[in-house]
């Protein structure tokens, strides 16, 4: 069926099977491979994107369910060639090792900071508790998000 999904501000119309998952629509149809695809069972959280501004696991959403809706992927975090503060935080604090969980982590972090500009370490850990870092690099992920919070507070 024909669907139109607005991804990172741009409308994309495609003819897809109802069974196509949003994660595969983004990666295979739109070639936005920043969204990773991991466990396929809504456990690992590497496929997190924003659907109408809210983080969801795109392996458990059908592309047709996003018809007429807005999706933001990691590619949509930077603005006018400048990285989002959360992305800068991951650079500054070595928030990634292998990078597999990073897009999802950053999208959840962006959503958290938009709702709570000064989250505690415990609140950050709670927010990302549905996302796994296979390098177990959680300490630096939390530091990266704190760096972004402090950086935004100072600006």
């Amino acid at each position: 069926m024909m669907i139109t999904v607005t991804v990172n501000g741009q409308a994309h119309t495609r003819d897809v099977e109802p069974r196509m998952l949003l994660v595969h629509f983004l990666r295979d149809e739109l070639r936005l491979t920043g969204t990773h695809w991991g466990c396929d069972t809504s456990n690992c959280g590497v496929c997190v994107v924003h659907l109408d501004g809210t983080p969801v696991k795109s392996c458990s959403v059908l592309a047709v369910m996003a018809d007429g809706h807005e999706v933001t992927t990691v590619e949509g975090l930077e603005r006018d060639g400048e990285l989002d503060t959360v992305q800068k935080g991951f650079v500054e604090c070595h928030g990634l090792q292998c990078g597999f969980c990073t897009p999802g982590m950053m999208l959840t972090a962006r959503w958290l900071l938009d709702r709570d500009p000064d989250p505690s370490e415990a609140e950050i850990r709670e927010a990302i508790s549905g996302q796994l870092c296979r390098c177990t690099g959680y300490e630096n992920i939390v530091r990266s998000v704190r760096w972004a919070a402090e950086s935004e507070a100072a600006s």
Binding site: E17, S42, S60, V61
Partner: protein, 292 residues
């Protein structure tokens, strides 16, 4: 790559439209909302519906408000919204206790209250919480709405009273002055299904227990309830002795199965302990005057 088998997809624009679609598509059609249980099951071919009716656009099912002496929870209310709702948490702390330990925050952004109940997984937390609260389910069908007490809603594992062509639209939870409630869960790791869990609701009048509701999760309790334990509490003075007796009765009457989450005797032990703790916490909350 896990992908569901082929199916037809329709998006409903109103409850009436959803019912029409369900009638047209027949008994092998399924309603999808959050999809975080159904879609993974479809990938594994544990479920293979011929058609999906997407109800995510039905704002009329997203209400969450006190109406008269009931809290009304629309079937499409997301877990995250119920958890963030201060009034729901004040009236029924058991719902917030349970929501806090359901999956993880991102899954809770998408999953719905109605979907959790209709999935009817024996390990699902809200089923026991609503059972303890003696909520009422409202089901819409072609002939209009009908109400089903929550303890008649679940008819077996993955089976509910919702017939083909019908739609769960809301849960209604009676507000009881003098009540307190709590939910206690033991899980292998954060966000997992419970090894065992227990919910408790107590109404305390003039220093004695006037009403008691106990819900049990993942331990083979019929209708997620523990009626023998509830009966033992009526007319008793709230206290450790009464809670321990109720816990022992609940443990004796449930039917846990040994599986990858633990042996049956360990689960039975957990039931006794978690019922005791949930009752103590519920009584403490009732005593604190959380709800008058």
């Amino acid at each position: 790559m896990q992908v569901p088998a082929r199916f037809e997809y329709e998006r409903a624009s109103s409850v009436g439209h959803a019912l029409m679609l369900l009638e047209r598509l027949g008994p092998e059609a399924r309603v999808v909302a959050g999809g975080h249980s159904l879609i993974p099951m479809m990938k594994l071919r544990l479920a293979q519906p011929e058609a999906l009716v997407d109800i995510n656009d039905l704002a009329e099912l997203s209400h969450l408000a006190v109406e008269g002496d009931e809290l009304v929870v629309g079937a499409l209310v997301r877990h995250a919204r119920l958890l963030a709702d201060a009034e729901a948490g004040r009236l029924f702390p058991i719902l917030h206790d349970a929501e806090r330990v359901i999956a993880d925050p991102v899954v809770r952004n998408r999953g719905t209250v109605g979907g959790s109940l209709c999935q009817a997984d024996p390990s699902e937390d809200l089923s026991a919480a609503f059972s303890a609260l003696r909520a009422t389910a409202v089901i819409q069908g072609p002939g209009g709405a009908r109400t089903v007490p929550i303890r008649e809603f679940h008819t077996g594992p993955y089976e509910t009273a919702v017939e083909p062509g019908e739609l769960l639209t809301e849960l209604r939870v009676p507000i009881r002055p003098g009540s307190g409630s709590a939910y206690q869960k033991v899980e292998r790791r954060v966000g997992d299904w419970p090894v065992a869990a227990a919910g408790a609701v107590l109404v305390i009048h003039d220093g004695v227990i006037a009403e008691a509701g106990i819900g049990l999760t993942a331990v083979g309790a019929a209708h997620f309830a523990a009626p023998e334990a509830e009966e033992s509490l009526i007319g008793q003075v709230p206290g450790e002795e009464a809670y321990a007796r109720a816990g022992a009765l609940a443990a004796a009457h449930c039917e846990p199965q040994s599986d990858q989450r633990g042996p049956a005797d360990y689960k039975r032990h957990l039931v006794g302990e978690l019922v005791r703790r949930a009752l103590a916490r519920a009584a403490e909350r009732a005593g604190r005057g959380g709800l008058r």
